[in-house]
Symmetry: D2
Subunit: 333 residues, 4 copies
């Protein structure tokens, strides 16, 4: 039984608590949150201890799940590594590439698993798409198209602290693109608009974006994001290759179709929001992490994956500002 | 916490054990199986007691889940009722209508919930279809078409003890038909063939059947069954009415579609078999039962539902033998 | 260029005129209708002659297309055969099996093609289903399910003269069933209700029916019909076999899907009514007929097919009246 | 009856001849091709005259359909305009923006319809998508995604003369983007690779491209093209707005779905190639042109549309070369 310390008891932290509670081979041993009552509530609900400090929680565990606010991630990773505990950290590692690089250096030589919370890699449909491509079912992969739209705009406070759409939202798609492509994008173009909420310009942010990336072998990848798709959480991946195509589509709660005098084939709304859509993915991601902890193996979504996705987001910001195809060497050098 | 005694630790019993283990508000307190080691194995896996006798298990519980072999169901229902425990019993109650009627009389006046394991009523898609019809979305219901095909022929031993396809397999569809129609079929026609395994004729059984039923108001219902659909467990319900139609379709593990030089839109196989396809339905059925126990309410699938479905199966047997539209009054009088 | 005489210039006659006008290798030479102005209108529209009598029209042609009212079909078939002209006759040949048998005897020895207007055999989707079954793609065929629903109730006058639902509407599905099964049904069960228009009982007719048929080898076939599907003309065929299943589905004018805050995957309505849905089938049926005329070959839908489908309708009427599985030998002996 | 002169009797010319032959209100009066026998063959097939020169053909018509090789388009437009004949010209008008501008000036004041062959505007699905957007069904349009992939690489000779992928293939999508957006793109980014045939680099061409465009109000549009989609001609348009989404999908010859032990929901291949996929669109485009000729109205796809799409292609070439977001003012000034 792997004892897990959960750091952070907000929306995503509570979701992780529930996922841990259902997982075989794991035990939610202790929780911590800077807001003590938040930790106590989760502790009560799941019947575990509430620690007064993060250090105390880390000490009482085999593995640490970091779901606190972004600015604390890197510090907690370093603290957990120093304590010798396996680490599962929500994305992004940090909003600053420099801080991430410093964190990487700080934990150099740490030999326990460090997994970043790129849940979509573990979604059964997305993973089956990747596996089909790897198995050669679509021949040589040539183009990737990722559609990723949130059902509605987050709160102003959330957006203010988010680091902007590329580091907050597209970062999932940057990671998914790398997961699908199987090689690194070397050039990034990005543009965006405030089509949903014009006042986002005050935050120097946009709500609707399109990206194109190119790898060294010429593979092309497109991402489009919207902060508000009224018909639900739209999560699709399309892989196109020399021998065919695979598309991982949206999920519905069930397969009812309705037919009336004016409409045909009306389906259920898409699962909405990520906690529902990626419920299986979160569970499978945790399961994979637990297996890595047990076998001291390298996770599917590593610290390096977290760093590279952030670098792509940084390149996208530069491209948006300068209107050009930015070379990754410019941001990672 | 409702303490449940699980009677029967075979394939379906183990599935129920896992469902109980995941359910909120329930505790798998004790298990029993005529084969002691089977009970012990489940007890070990789920960390509960193993009783030496059914009576002992019943005594140690708030509610009893009967998943033993069919011939024992009625006796155990009577024992549990005598002990004053809420009852969840797998279908069918018995293969004999007379025994079911006797059991009904034996427990007359028992005031705790008795739920029969008609899981499909709790399937989100099927239930949404029923709810749409009840809500008037398709106007006046006129026709029901149920397609229900197992992925592969069960073992000879299973089939020998099954009571024949109508009492073993179609009974689920008879119940679903009543659930959808919202009124009682008054006439039943059935025919069948041995198209999958001609030697089933030795068991006086068939493997491929078609049924038509008619209610007092003239509503029509068709059921088709096959014991072996190579493409998976095929479970569809279509409701047709004066203002439209709803279709509850099959479920897949995920929504990957594959496109190659020779094929287009290739989907995942259907979830296969009932433990996978109706996993949610089993959980929701148990949840509904627990709520009835807590509130001492009438379950969605009652003893009477079990008896009526068996009567429809009996009528189908008579129709198959005599090639005519059998009136329900003939078998239930 | 095969010169065609079109007899009958009503709704279906006009449709045939347009189909002939578009066909390669055929020429609409002359039209006839008992209502002279109807013939003249079609003649003007398509730039052909209008004959004063059917005999005159027949004489001026290589092949005759009979689209007059049902009671005239058999006489016109006999007249055309006597004149030595190839024949394409709309269904049904007659409402009386005896008259059809007499007609068969009257034209015995006639050596030109006689094709009955069972258009659905030529529908690309339905034919692909049949071809897949014949090619062994689904192994041994076991069950056929035909859903066939008209978009709205025909006029009272039409219904009065129609011969009842089985001879007017289901006859298409009886023919399709034989086409799909590849062997003859030997037993027929049918039931029906007046769920759409209760006053149809005055015509001794029903508007909602279900049928089950069985072949000598035990293959099973279900048909359901409704006179009024508000969501459109619903035409589906499902073939189920030992190695798989094929489903021929409905056609839409185009593939637009709509997604809104409350609905998902909303499709176009189905093509509506048979003139739109089976436009290709009518053209392909005519093309096939012209080929048979040119090569003096046997058509895909023969006089015998017309007679057998009528016999199935007769058996259905008997079954509806007597509530039993009727043996085909009873009606055809 | 509008008499049409068809100039050019190659693959696309023959297709137009057949479309004209089927159209109501039009007559294929005369054909011309620089290769005399090609014209004679088409003349024989459709029973019309074959002219020795383009001028002769133009003189004998009410309207001219230009389907010759691209370098002759502008000259023939000018000749037809001078002769006062309505004009339908295949895309592109010319490969040189300067030549197109000169042609525009040469025909300034010409008051008969000039329609460019952007057939996709007339595709029922694509048009229904546009109409839904214009009607406000999806609120304010925000993003457009166009997937457009040919089934296989054209011949080397064709590609050499094509002017490159943007002017030959993407030009259709540039036009479709403008049609859907309802406003002009002001910035264009394009990149591409030779993933299908590396030797295309010798022609200074690519076979796989991705484009992003932005309008003045911030609407975003993505296009992806491939010269070789093995699963067929992939033609999809997705419109995303503040109140919903519409997707115009691919067409199949019929709606058969196949299910086997290893695959589910296998559909027919997509209609392949443009002559099949856009058969209706070509017919509707011609119908629309004939209506404009009859009413002397402005066509749906004007000379200006041809010029603007070419300008977008020019901008894409510049962007591909320089790796930056090119402003339309740079290429159109």
């Amino acid at each position: 039984m792997i004892k897990i310390a959960l750091l952070g008891c907000g929306r995503i932290g509570k979701m992780h608590a529930a996922t841990i509670a259902r997982a075989a081979g794991a035990e939610l041993a202790v929780v911590y949150d800077p807001v003590g009552v938040a930790a106590e509530e989760v502790a009560r609900q799941f019947g575990c201890a509430a620690a007064a400090t993060a250090e105390e929680a880390i000490a009482a565990s085999d593995a640490v799940l970091i779901a606190t606010s972004t600015p604390t991630h890197a510090d907690l990773i370093e603290a957990a590594a120093k304590a010798g505990k396996a680490i599962f950290c929500e994305k992004p590692i940090d909003l600053s590439l420099a801080r991430v690089a410093a964190c990487r250096k700080a934990i150099a030589g740490f030999d326990k698993p460090v997994q970043i919370g790129f849940n979509r890699r573990f979604d059964p449909g997305h993973r089956a798409a990747r596996d089909a491509a790897r198995a050669g079912e679509i021949g040589e992969l040539q183009q990737v198209v990722i559609t990723s739209r949130d059902p509605g705009l987050a709160s102003r406070d959330y957006l203010k602290a988010s680091g902007g759409i590329f580091k907050d939202m597209t970062i999932h798609d940057f990671d998914l693109a790398r997961f699908m492509l199987g090689e690194e994008p070397v050039e990034v173009f990005a543009t965006g608009s405030t089509l949903i909420d014009p006042t986002l310009a005050e935050l120097n942010d946009v709500d609707s974006i399109m990206v194109i990336m190119r790898t060294a072998t010429g593979k092309l990848c497109h991402i489009n994001n919207s902060r508000a798709a009224v018909y639900g959480y739209d999560q699709r991946v399309e892989l196109f290759g020399s021998k065919g195509m695979v598309i991982s589509g949206n999920r519905k709660a069930h397969e009812l179709e309705r037919f009336t005098a004016t409409t045909t084939n009306v389906g259920e709304p898409y699962l909405n929001f990520f906690i529902e859509r990626y419920e299986e993915a979160f569970a499978l991601g945790l399961k994979s992490f637990l297996k890595c902890v047990a076998e001291n193996a390298t996770p599917d979504a590593t610290f390096e994956d977290g760093e590279r996705s952030l670098a792509l987001a940084e390149a996208a910001n530069l491209s948006l500002a300068e209107g050009r195809f930015v070379k990754m060497a410019e941001v990672t050098a």
